[in-house]
């Protein structure tokens, strides 16, 4: 029981990070119907920006942890958003009216470009960050096993809930969010209603990259090491999460992230850690057999 609870806490933490990245995949798919394969690498860039920001802040003497975290969060979100915007502007927009596979291919190209750029600019070795958020609470213990929820886990889950809540309001309660959803449903009609569709698509990339930056920062804090290749594995997982929840559905991405995080954690805890990825992807295959559109996805057919 204690062991189960501990794994649940670990799984929710990991799932939060996946969920934040999955939203970026699902939103881009929703609005332009393409899988942005470079999104995982945007997350990786976000993690690097966060790391550099931490080091820069330490150099200029800002070491108070809450202040540093907040500043790093803002810096990482803003700069990563600029990266997300640039990727769309450079690699996807010129191909908007092209055949369907073209942006997919440039997305893979962009992914390789970002990975190699960071590899060259930052080096291929793993980059460590000394633990910034330490400590935790022992919930209870059973025999020699104690269930611990660490401060960093609390920080990750709380930040994720806050960011997702704010994001939910933005999409569902503001004119900006309404325009975003309109473009998702019918781009031509959105334009006829006076919505600048290109601007809205850019905004989608900016928002997705911002959320990925939050995930990058949390990943950095949680694991303490990053390298130029993390975007690939974590990105594929988050993409799986988005498909799992129903690609195009934002609540689906959040839910899918959580489930993939839990599957992975529980499989590692009770079976073999080597097969955790196999477990996650197998579950995806099984779910897609019974729910072809994912858990919360909607069928393509709509009443006209």
């Amino acid at each position: 029981m204690a062991y189960f609870l501990q794994q649940l806490i670990n799984g929710v933490t990991l799932g939060s990070i996946y969920g934040l990245i999955a939203i970026g995949y699902t939103m881009v798919y929703g609005i332009i119907g393409m899988i942005n394969f470079a999104h995982g690498d945007v997350f990786m860039v976000g993690a690097f920006i966060a790391l550099i920001a931490f080091l820069a802040l330490t150099t200029i003497g800002i070491t108070a942890v809450p202040l540093a975290l907040l500043l790093v969060l803002i810096i990482a979100m803003v700069l990563t958003a600029v990266w997300g915007w640039t990727v769309e502007r450079v690699a996807y927009r010129p191909l908007r009216e092209s055949f369907r596979l073209a942006p997919l291919i440039t997305a893979i190209g962009m992914s390789i470009v970002l990975q190699n750029f960071i590899q060259i600019a930052q080096g291929a070795r793993v980059k460590p960050l000394q633990p910034i958020v330490t400590g935790g609470y022992e919930l209870f213990h059973q025999g020699s096993f104690s269930v611990i929820v660490s401060n960093i886990q609390i920080l990750i889950v709380a930040t994720t809930v806050l960011v997702m809540g704010a994001f939910w309001l933005l999409i569902n309660r503001t004119e900006l969010g309404r325009a975003q959803r309109a473009c998702e449903q019918d781009r031509l009609m959105a334009a006829l209603s006076g919505v600048d569709v290109d601007r809205t698509i850019s905004l989608t990339f900016v928002l997705g990259a911002g959320l990925a930056a939050v995930a990058g920062l949390l990943y950095l804090l949680y694991y303490g090491v990053i390298d130029f290749f993390i975007g690939f594995v974590v990105g594929i997982k988050a993409f799986t999460a988005a498909v799992f929840g129903g690609i195009g559905s934002i609540p689906g991405a959040m839910l899918g992230g959580l489930i993939i995080g839990l599957i992975e954690t529980f499989w590692s805890a009770y079976f073999t850690i080597e097969y955790k990825d196999v477990a996650a992807f197998s579950m995806l295959a099984i779910v897609l057999i019974f729910f072809p559109t994912g858990l919360l996805g909607r069928p393509e057919v709509e009443k006209v």
């Binding site: 959803r181 309109a182 209603s193 919505v195 600048d196």
Partner: protein, 249 residues
């Protein structure tokens, strides 16, 4: 005579290499209802969409309020006050009726005027008020058509474009919608109407144009066209779709 609100001047349009509109010229003056009639595939909807910049003209000009808008992006054309209720209604199916109307209000860009505009369209289509929290996709065809028109009206249009407002609707609903158009026009709204339901459209309109294979072949006042032998033969008698029975009722 004053300059027209909207003028198409020698407009030629093609999808790819295939030309669809040939040298189309027409004028719509402030306060008028102008209708464009023609058979299926004649290019009526393309004419309507060309005004909004989709597709773009390959030759000729679209002049609105004295400016050539033929190279403007679609959303900027909308923001000039050209609001369209397009072919197929294009309701945002996963948004509520209210959100659809809020989308329409973007063009008006007057947050303060929203409530009064809303009251106005609800007075025109009371059914929409009952359905305001329902998703657009769950409405009946007639209700969706009302919503499409209401959404366009929320933009406080200078020019309202209506593409086949009667398509697929019950006779009673068609009558209701045409009465609504008439009422709006009486309040000063300029309307450009595309219809297959020629009888109703010509009775309603001040002037009409007839389109055949992407060319304007005839123009005149509504009554003139109604009286014309050619129009009667081609669009009012015999060769009719189910909508034509509507006009008899």
């Amino acid at each position: 005579m004053t300059a027209p609100l909207l003028a198409l001047d020698g407009v030629t349009v093609g999808y790819g290499l295939l030309p669809v509109l040939h040298d189309v010229s027409l004028q719509i003056r402030s306060g008028e209802i102008v209708c464009l009639i023609g058979a299926n595939g004649a290019g009526k909807t393309t004419t309507m969409m060309t005004i909004c910049g989709r597709p773009r003209v390959s030759h000729g000009q679209v002049v609105f309020d004295g400016t050539d808008i033929s190279q403007h992006p679609t959303h900027e054309i909308a923001r000039l006050g050209i609001c369209q209720s397009p072919e197929g209604r294009r309701i945002f199916a996963r948004m509520t009726v209210m959100e659809n109307l809020q989308m329409g209000a973007i063009v008006a860009n007057t947050p303060d005027g929203f409530e009064s505009d809303l009251a106005r369209v609800f007075a025109l289509f009371p059914r929409l008020a009952d359905r305001s929290n329902q998703r657009g996709g769950t409405l009946s065809g007639g209700e969706q058509q009302m919503l499409a028109i209401a959404r366009a009206l929320m933009g406080r249009p200078k020019l309202l474009l209506l593409d086949e407002p009667s398509l697929g609707l019950a006779p009673l609903v068609v009558k209701q919608i045409f009465e609504a158009i008439k009422e709006l026009n009486a309040q000063g709204l300029t309307v450009f109407l595309v219809e297959q339901n020629a009888f109703y459209a010509l009775k309603l309109a001040n002037r009409g144009y007839v389109m055949v294979n992407g060319r304007i072949t005839m123009t005149g006042t509504g009554d003139e066209l109604l009286a014309s032998e050619h129009v009667r033969e081609a669009y009012l008698d015999g060769a009719t779709g189910p909508e034509e029975e509507v006009s008899i009722s």
